[in-house]
């Protein structure tokens, strides 16, 4: 490589993880020139995301590369249809059979409720507000999918969601949810589908898929 100014180099806007960066090791001790691979600099990397320009019933992340250890899905937004709130479902690899189980603990105002779903065809991952919620109100949901590329165990998910759907402190003004889910299948997960229980995710809803680095 010819000598050149850093400012004159071509910029790389996304990292594959195997790029080399120059560092000075132990700068306050015995400084030494060293290299480091980019993947050790970040434990979580955006795989893809979608901000809806129009409403959609499902958002599916397909052809997920098997290069991470765990996956994290995050959704910020709300749903269409005239309900205060409704569920969001998660399904893997297009499996619509009764191979899913879920357990949730959710609270609204001062009431807490535990709810199981055994032998279901989709995992209840949380709640997002519907169009009966006041304008601007929204919800958030995250789901961690563990060791998604493994072919040894059934796949496990932990979820959290927050849905604000009515005036502060009104009855059922908000739902906070912690949940767990399983997919009774040892196959590696290659696609994750997010289903809007109320019918559609609203315009402006953002769904992101992250990968947690394996090493």
């Amino acid at each position: 490589m010819a000598d050149s100014k850093v400012a004159d180099l071509t910029a790389v806007t996304t990292l594959d993880g195997d790029e080399l960066l120059y560092i000075v090791d132990s700068p306050s001790g015995t400084p030494a020139d060293r290299k480091v691979t980019a993947k050790v600099l970040s434990g979580i990397r955006l795989i893809d995301e979608q901000e809806l320009g129009s409403s959609a019933a499902t958002i599916t992340f397909s052809s997920i590369p098997a290069t991470y250890r765990h996956l994290r899905v995050m959704i910020a937004g709300r749903q269409v249809e005239a309900v205060a709130f409704d569920y969001v479902g998660i399904r893997f690899n297009g499996d619509t059979a009764a191979n899913y189980n879920w357990q949730t603990d959710y609270s609204s105002n001062a009431t807490g409720t535990a709810a199981p779903g055994a032998g279901a065809s989709v995992i209840l991952a949380g709640y997002l507000p519907g169009s009966s919620a006041p304008a601007g109100f929204a919800g958030a949901l995250s789901a961690d999918i563990y060791d998604y590329r493994s072919t040894t165990f059934h796949k496990l998910v932990t979820t959290q969601s927050a849905s604000f759907q009515a005036a502060a402190a009104a009855a059922s003004w908000a739902h906070a949810l912690n949940g767990a889910g399983s997919w009774e299948n040892t196959a590696a997960i290659t696609s994750v589908a997010l289903n809007a229980g109320a019918g559609n995710f609203a315009t402006g809803t953002v769904a992101s898929l992250y990968g947690l680095v394996a090493e």
Binding site: S55, I59, S62, G89, L124
Partner: protein, 76 residues
């Protein structure tokens, strides 16, 4: 007509298309299943108190306790 959005994480391509009849049927089946599961989830303590309140005899109270206490204590 609702759309589905499919993001190909390997190529970055995004497909937006209307739901197929099979997908619409699956969505309706999902909603029916989830509604049934959620409807089955009521507050076990509230159920216990309601059953006791509605009992009109000692025997009725015993039956209410026998029916609802296990779930109220998380045994079912």
């Amino acid at each position: 007509m609702s759309d589905v959005v499919i993001v190909n994480c390997s190529t970055g391509e995004v497909e937006v298309r209307p739901m197929t009849d099979a997908e619409i049927a699956q969505q309706e089946a999902d909603r029916a299943e989830m509604s049934a599961l959620i409807a089955a989830q009521t507050d076990p303590i509230a159920d216990l108190l309601t059953a006791v309140d509605e009992a009109t005899s000692i025997r009725g109270i015993k039956d209410a306790l026998r029916a609802h206490l296990p779930r109220a204590f998380g045994r079912q």
